[in-house]
């Protein structure tokens, strides 16, 4: 091959290139992009390995498990009252909401019902958890797009809600306030008024975020039509909560299968959006915060008097049986499947956490999207790592 001159080589390459242009697509070399485990967009430590073709994702593989704490195993060696401390830490931004379905499932097996006042206070605290959780999402979504201001507003205004949770339960993040048969304590004096005051601040925050983000042209171009989840795909993957409602599924556990909480007494609305894109998921969550603030107002006004604790045995032994109770948590449907053999501890607890199912759609959803959209899609799906890893 010594006779091949540079000129011939160049001609050969040019011919190949011409052929390629005419006949086959130009093959670009694949690249693997590793996002995380400690990426600001991951709310913890989720790692995403994305195979790229140019700017497009060919295959994305989320790697979870960096925070797996084995709660399902741990519940088997703890008594029922001890478990609420653990499960508080599943979705750490809406901790109280994690306790409720577990307690409700245990109450169902014991055939105990909490007094009405306890049910109402549970509902108030549940909605406060939702607000404090979703406020952070609303601010955080701006960060995913490079807007830093909203997240400071979010952290500022979330305090108003956390202050109320702390005043009632003693803990800002991990109340551990729910008990089988009711609540640990009644509300402090003057709490209802100050809570209603903080709801006004929450509404102001929603207006502010709407002004800052929702109308922004950059926000709209980055989220509209991005990461579309069709209704049927959402159902198959078990998307729940705002993610499902943004895909046009008119379903809310609070309305359709409410167990042991005060939602049927309230006047509120389930918001849905038909687009199924990142924008819809953001929009639905804004409406949900407003709706939750409305509910808290109504709950504070109509709170019935009475005891907050039912008569329960001093040593909690749950009769043998199985129960599954799910509630509409800030992130979606969260349920506990409890199998009891009549012991001090459950025999098996299956924790159905919302983020686990919400994230299982990512390999499907990220296929074919552009690299910058990975971040907005993940941000708009909104997951809490503790809720994936449990």
């Amino acid at each position: 091959m010594t006779s091949v001159t540079d000129r011939q080589k160049l001609q050969y390459i040019a011919a190949q290139a011409a052929d390629a242009r005419v006949n086959v697509e130009l093959e670009t070399e694949g690249m693997t992009l590793n996002l995380g485990p400690q990426h600001p967009a991951t709310h913890g430590t989720l790692r995403i390995i994305a195979q790229l073709d140019g700017e497009q994702v060919v295959h994305a593989e989320p790697v979870a498990g960096y925070m797996h704490r084995g709660y399902e195993k741990l519940t088997e060696v703890r008594t029922y009252p001890q478990i609420t401390t653990l499960i508080n830490r599943i979705d750490w931004l809406g901790s109280f909401a994690n306790e409720v379905p577990f307690i409700l499932a245990a109450e169902q097996l014991m055939e105990v019902e909490a007094p009405e006042r306890a049910m109402w206070i549970r509902t108030i605290l549940f909605e406060l958890s939702r607000i404090s959780n979703l406020i952070l999402f609303l601010g955080d979504m701006g960060v995913q797009l490079g807007a830093v201001t909203p997240v400071f507003f979010a952290f500022r205004d979330r305090e108003f809600v956390l202050d109320q949770i702390e005043a009632a339960t003693g803990g800002r993040f991990h109340p551990n306030f729910d008990r089988i048969g009711g609540l640990r304590d009644d509300l402090p004096k003057g709490w209802l008024e100050s809570t209603k005051g903080s709801m006004d601040k929450v509404r102001d925050f929603c207006d502010q975020i709407e002004d800052l983000l929702l109308g922004s042209e950059i926000f709209q171009t980055r989220t509209r039509g991005i990461g579309i989840v069709p209704t049927d795909v959402a159902m198959q993957y078990g998307l729940s909560g705002p993610n499902a409602r943004a895909s046009g599924i008119d379903w809310d556990v609070r309305r359709d299968n409410c167990i042991g909480l005060a939602y049927p007494e309230l006047d509120w609305k389930v918001w849905t959006h038909t687009d199924g894109d990142s924008f819809a998921r953001f929009w639905v969550r804004i409406q949900e915060v407003r709706e939750a603030a409305k509910m808290v107002d109504q709950l504070c006004d109509g709170l019935p008097a009475g005891p907050v604790m039912a008569k329960v045995p001093r040593i909690i032994k749950v009769p043998a049986g199985e129960a599954y109770v799910a509630t509409e948590n800030p992130l979606g449907e969260m349920g506990y499947y409890i199998v009891s053999e009549g012991d001090l501890t459950p025999f098996r607890v299956k924790i159905r956490s919302a983020s686990f199912s919400n994230m299982s759609i990512t390999p499907w959803l990220l296929r074919g999207v552009y690299v910058p959209d990975i971040i907005t899609i993940l941000g708009s799906l909104y997951f809490i790592l503790g809720d994936i890893d449990r």
Binding site: H68, T79, G238, I315, K317, G321, A323
Partner: protein, 238 residues
């Protein structure tokens, strides 16, 4: 093993009550499932359980999704019915006292054995797969169903649900690594939580919870006054 009416081994004493909508749903379910259905149970006002035969597990997913319209996939997991050889690891001081108090309190009423050994729908094998699917229709039209199936002790394998419900993918991966159950036909059973070189299946009952074994929990600092010791005037329900 009959396939209609609440299961014979129902533990609750509520067979007298009848749950009309759930009975109607169960009738519909048993009609669609035919002889794939092994057992069923209704907890009045609460929930429906069905148990299907092992071989039909994969087909059942297709039937409940496409024919019965239970299109929403809740979760899928496995349960290990073997009693834990390590007990409850209730070995710290506070737990022992609590357990003693509990056993002395209810000794009388605990005597009739409930026969609850494999859950509300019974079963023969050590492992059972169970899944939860729901029907999401118009507002207010929402109901769920728990489906179970025995997993053969010799093969420890059962069909995958990923063909009917794509979301079963991660749930089956989790069940595979935690219980060592193989889901035949799953596109890629890889570890999801555990490191790839992890040995053992942590959620099996015979997998020791080492952290609990080397150090009793909770520590002595956590001890509160025990409920049994202080005066129970206002809520002595026992």
């Amino acid at each position: 093993m009959t396939n209609d009416a609440p299961a014979a081994e129902a533990t609750e004493s509520e067979e007298v009550a009848v749950d009309e909508p759930r009975e109607a749903r169960l009738a519909m379910i048993s009609e669609s499932l035919g002889d794939m259905l092994v057992d069923s149970h209704i907890a009045v006002g609460r929930d429906i359980w069905v148990r299907v035969s092992t071989d039909a597990w994969g087909e059942v997913a297709d039937v409940v999704r496409n024919r019965l319209g239970l299109r929403y996939f809740g979760f899928l997991s496995v349960i290990d019915w073997m009693p834990s050889p390590y007990g409850r690891s209730m070995d710290s001081e506070v737990d022992i006292v609590l357990a003693d108090a509990a056993s002395s309190d209810d000794a009388a009423e605990e005597a009739p054995d409930t026969g609850f050994t494999r859950g509300v729908t019974g079963g023969e094998t050590r492992f059972q797969a169970f899944a939860r699917v729901s029907h999401v229709g118009d507002p207010g039209d929402f109901w769920g169903l728990t489906i179970k199936a025995d997993i053969p002790d010799d093969t420890l394998a059962i069909d995958t649900w990923t063909n009917a419900y794509a979301g079963a993918d991660w749930h089956e991966r989790e069940a595979w690594e935690m219980f060592g159950i193989r889901f035949t036909g799953h596109p890629g059973l890889r570890n999801i939580y555990l490191p790839t070189d992890f040995e053992g299946n942590p959620m099996r009952k015979d997998f020791p919870l080492l952290a609990r074994m080397v150090k009793p929990w909770p520590g002595i600092v956590d001890v509160e006054p025990l409920p049994a010791t202080d005066d129970g005037a206002e809520e002595g329900d026992q």
